[in-house]
Symmetry: C2
Subunit: 219 residues, 2 copies
């Protein structure tokens, strides 16, 4: 297809397509004359990926990292996916590559006996989140951690089971977008589960006759 | 204590304390002379609450809503907590009170058989999140939903079990801050579980010898 058709099919404006070509995010088309090029399915797919990554909040530099990994995967699947996932927000305040101490995150991960890469931003993210929980007076306890970790593992397992493995592009795309895009879904489902459980536990009760909520055993 | 001590204990600057007093977010102290007032533990606690709510991204108007519910709870516990939780971000793009159609969120909630209040922002939030998942080509499936919902329910149950019930303030504070503050913790734990499961499933494998990842049964 001509570039005009690529614009129509992808919904990405011509100026943006040209910009992605210049920046090397979009691979060049096959030259069909001195001034024209042919584009195909891979270009449509790449534009959809760039659009989706921008939609989950990735700046251009991070999109470049991910597109680069699709085109040139690291030696192992684990490294490729790990580097791609490290491009997701939130971004740590400190410089890339610098690793802090992260005592809370380390304690949690050691307690869970999980393998982790200390330099990935998610460790700093966990540390910040645990520190924030402490600051507001609701620190992580062993009891809460045990339940959270068990259920989060169940969620992570189905995430990996459903990962397509037909191509590097599919796998990277699924890992990055699936991780980012399902975080707000899971957050909303948790709030709605609170509502549903609370509706039964607190039915018609005022704060005056407040006692310990009934345990709901509908899981 | 004098206002200067309140400033020292709370870590909130004097100008901000005065602003909260004027805005009615902080209750007045007991007048001890024509120009002085005495403050106590309730003032320290209220300032900590305001600070924590601002820290999870609530604008002043929403903080006012929550503080108002602490001081004047609704008729039922469920309504009080529901209204307080509805003050949490993310905020829907449409006007307050206006309810959209939310077909994806409704289908999910009906499938799960959950009680929900259609006017609360979390329904719009779920709809947006599900639409975004569709847009990037990883739509919610029944298989994924069944696993997600079961595990999210387990998480929501421990959240409610651990809720303090000694006062309206404690309950509202826990519900709002605990909901908001543990979302990034859960998101980070999920990413780290992916890493741990992936490390075992993909150990040393390159994309060339890529096959379906082994199912991890360590839950």
């Amino acid at each position: 297809m001509r570039v005009s058709e690529l614009v129509a099919v992808s919904g990405v404006p011509l100026a943006t397509v040209k910009y992605y070509l210049r920046e090397g995010l979009l691979m060049p088309g096959a030259a069909s004359s001195a001034t024209q090029a042919e584009y195909g399915e891979q270009h449509v797919r790449r534009l959809a990926l760039i659009k989706a990554l921008a939609g989950v909040g990735l700046p251009l530099g991070k999109i470049r990292t991910i597109v680069g990994l699709v085109d040139h995967p690291a030696d192992t699947v684990f490294d490729t996916l790990g580097r791609a996932l490290a491009a997701l927000p939130p971004y740590p305040a400190h410089a890339d590559g610098e690793t802090g101490d992260y005592p809370r995150a380390r304690a949690v991960l050691e307690r869970l006996g999980q393998v982790y890469e200390p330099s990935y931003p998610v460790v700093a993210q966990l540390e910040r989140a645990l520190a924030a929980a402490e600051d507001v007076g609701i620190p992580m306890t062993d009891e809460r951690l045990e339940v959270y970790a068990r259920h989060i593992r169940g969620i992570a397992e189905i995430d990996l089971e459903l990962m397509p493995t037909d191509s590097v592009e599919s796998a990277v795309e699924y890992a990055v977008l699936g991780t980012a895009i399902y975080e707000p879904v899971l957050a909303a489902l948790r709030r709605l589960a609170h509502q549903d459980i609370g509706a039964a536990a607190f039915a018609g009760r005022a704060f005056g006759d407040f006692a310990t909520p009934d345990r709901q055993d509908q899981s």
